[in-house]
Symmetry: C2
């Protein structure tokens, strides 16, 4: 047994309301940890036949969390705290009050009956989506999706909104985010991406990915991922990696953060990039100040910041030429019987950076991926803005895929049915993926500025832990203490600026493809 070193409390524990709120956090921590462990176990080691009972247990945990967070005690504490002098509060106190208030208000306004209806509809929805996708028939899913959209409309009415209820859902996943901001930001990303495709598309078509298809032993690949994770500063004393069908990160406390990866994908590098992606999420979790453990500040982190961390490690570090100048010779030992050949290193770096429009989002490259997100954003926005009906989704989807990616959608499975998100009611979630990319690209130049050695030959690979320390100091340790936009300003001195991303991809592909 062991615990991370802790200093004095970050909270004003002499304030009895803060103290009480922290006690309630402990109750919530128990319930949330139980829910997370039930879920982690479900996806890793649970015996197949235990699914029904497990679903009920997770449901019970979620119900108990809802009940705890919307209790009258919490309401009174928040009212009281908000009437106090905020000058006396630490940043952590303020964050605690802000996060509690947010969740409290959001939940208290939705009648329990409606919440249960949504939970049931989306739980069933995922089953029906699964079936519809297997049969590649949107018609099987249409009615269910109409019901879910309708319930989400009702939910939005209870909470209250101005023009488009979609603004609420965006705000759920990224507080303060609006369609105005996204329309403008996504427009420039779209333009830049289409520009890149025009500039490099023809050359990219000629890139062979055969090198990524060589056979390799799973155990060796797994050990290789573990080595990269260790080099990134993932602390195995406080975490672990397992295998699951769909990779994810879960956290019980900064002292227990777990990621999963999967093997046997199309490319031998898939599991490595998955590990780096989830590892990026995990570092954000492991490096929160341990005194924030078991509070909402550790749990309710911004999805956009989270995604910026995973993308930074997966793409800006993991798909860079500089990273592989160190790691490729080691990888070659594993999958090349003939040993390391410098010429093949170049082939490899090109292969992992082939730009190629793909019908499937999760198979897409770093550049065209964002077009997938923007397409989904536009459809969601129009659906809730009253400009699009559920029944017209497949056609709208296929038209946009043709327009943005130049591809013909052969069936619903490779089109509108490919993602689970809508079946679970997760409208407003997709944009966080691209925002994460933009944030990562905006943060990265700051890192390079502060750690000059990264620019030296071999400097990136040698400085992975320094990068982690930088991220810890500037971002990770705060958890959700600061709102996303404020944190970005603290870290980069600027508000969100998509130019960083377009500069990054332009320079990168000029450099790699030249």
């Amino acid at each position: 047994m062991d615990s991370k070193n802790q200093g004095p409390s970050l909270f004003s524990i002499s304030n009895r309301r803060i103290k009480r709120l922290l006690e309630i956090n402990r109750e919530l921590a128990f319930l949330q940890s139980a829910a997370n462990l039930f879920s982690w176990d479900q996806h890793t080691y649970m015996p197949k036949g235990a699914g029904d009972v497990r679903a009920e247990l997770i449901g019970t945990a979620e119900g108990a969390i809802h009940k705890c967070i919307t209790s009258k005690t919490v309401g009174k504490l928040l009212d009281g705290l908000e009437s106090e002098n905020f000058q006396n509060f630490t940043d952590y106190d303020k964050a605690l009050i802000r996060l509690f208030r947010r969740i409290y208000n959001r939940n208290i306004k939705v009648p329990k009956k409606l919440a249960v209806e949504i939970a049931e509809a989306t739980s069933k929805g995922q089953e029906i989506w699964d079936k519809a996708r297997a049969e590649s028939k949107f018609s099987l899913f249409k009615e269910t999706l109409e019901r879910i959209v309708n319930l989400k409309f009702q939910e939005a009415k209870c909470v209250g909104y101005e023009t488009n209820p979609y603004a609420l859902f965006l705000d759920d996943f990224e507080p303060g985010m609006t369609t105005d901001v996204l329309d403008s930001v996504f427009e420039s990303v779209k333009r830049a991406t289409i520009g890149i495709l025009k500039r490099f598309g023809d050359f990219s078509k000629s890139i062979s990915q055969d090198i990524l298809k060589r056979p390799v032993e799973q155990v060796k690949l797994a050990n290789f991922s573990l080595k990269i994770l260790e080099a990134m500063g993932f602390d195995f004393k406080y975490g672990r990696q397992d295998e699951s069908a769909h990779p994810f990160t879960t956290s019980f406390d900064p002292t227990d953060v777990r990621i999963t990866t999967r093997y046997g994908e199309q490319f031998l590098t898939s599991s490595i990039f998955t590990s780096m992606h989830e590892g990026g999420h995990a570092l954000y979790e492991q490096n929160a100040d341990p005194r924030l453990g078991r509070t909402l500040i550790a749990w309710n982190k911004s999805l956009v910041i989270h995604e910026s961390q995973s993308r930074l490690w997966e793409n800006l570090v993991g798909r860079s030429k500089e990273f592989w100048s160190f790691w490729y010779p080691l990888l070659a030992k594993i999958f090349l019987e003939s040993g390391f050949k410098p010429a093949e290193e170049k082939e490899f770096v090109l292969a992992i950076n082939k730009i190629q429009p793909d019908l499937i989002r999760v198979n897409s490259d770093e550049v065209t991926y964002n077009l997938h997100i923007i397409l989904r954003y536009e459809l969601e926005r129009d659906l809730f803005g009253g400009h699009l009906d559920v029944k017209d989704l497949p056609e709208a989807w296929n038209t946009k895929i043709k327009e943005y990616l130049g591809l013909d959608v052969p069936d619903d499975k490779h089109g509108v049915l490919q993602d689970v998100h809508w079946s679970s009611g997760g409208f407003g979630y997709f944009p966080t993926y691209t925002l994460g990319n933009l944030y990562a690209a905006q943060i990265w130049p700051k890192i390079c500025e502060d750690i000059g050695e990264i620019a030296m030959p071999g400097g990136l690979a040698r400085n992975l832990k320094t990068i982690k320390e930088w991220l810890k100091e500037k971002i990770h340790r705060f958890g959700a203490t600061y709102e996303t936009v404020n944190l970005l300003k603290m870290v980069t001195g600027e508000k969100m600026n998509p130019q960083y991303f377009t500069d990054y991809i332009n320079k990168k592909f000029e450099n790699i493809y030249k």
Copy 2:
């Protein structure tokens, strides 16, 4: 996802009190499952650094269980139910009421302050015991143990007892068990065991166990255990086996039952017998009627019945000549490069059945093991009966070991400090081990009577699943529906009779050693 087939409820759900009690059971099921999963994970996959947070989470779960089960609502429901006409209740209703009442009364009578004191003292106690054992100094543990014994005295006073508070602790682990019964039963076991040692001790000394010390690959051994478990009817759709430092069985529901084993012990067979032992526990859990899942009837099974199941599979089946006549040739493939030799099979069966007094309980053979239990029982009984002081435990221990096993105890580590039980306040637990042996030996002839084929050549190994089905029908499916003594009568037509055990070991060793 999948669930076991279920029929109509076993409970009188039209009775509103029964219905409410079942609802409370669901709440408890959530808390108990969380506690069990936290604990299973702690012993299998949890990162090392997460120990402190985990201990707190388990403590929170246990506190919440206590609070739920001793609520005023439960008290009122029980009062109400007990005033109803019992003729209208099913056996399952009655069991539910009986088990709730038992735990409710036991907990309600102990003031919260004392319960917390005991929890803290025993939690610390295990740490201090661990240290004292490592240094082999009882003096380091003496004061702590005195405190724990003193607190257990106080606890007994709160609950109420007639002459010896130890009766209460016995009753905690095996309802209705008394020192009078144990004194008499254990006396005959002691006599029979000493008789066996006299008869076969000299021959046993000459048995070599070298064959069990041959090197073997852990993976192969693990797969072999899995094959045996499968043959026993352990259902991997509803369970799994992992590795842990101390083997155990845990259950969340009949659809999710997990065992652990360990490797790298002195003998290559250790992990196999561990798997069979835990597998025996697991079958009892997996084969409860699924409609009892998530009720106290599934959780509060008798420890004696539980132990009878583990011992039946480990010893009566697993250490029999007949079992190995089928499995030895398969095992020989794994650890004998030279292949299967019939002469070595005999050597092997003798080696796994060598009777040899050992200072350590858990290393002891099937016969002398019970002397270890009887010794501990006598010390516990005298400690709480006022005939023995904590400070005199080492001397009393060493004297009895000399008397019963003829061995000199060189130090406390190999004597009074070897078991964790007392440091956790688990007085009254040890007897369940030997009672389990006696029950197994009494049940076994019934099985052989009903499944005549067992007596045929190769019949035992061919009928493992039939044995499991027999146990399921007669014992497992009921969970804790019937009290131990009643169940034994239902199954064997008799009350507990130690003669079955003495007959069994006499016949077995005559047969093997001849």
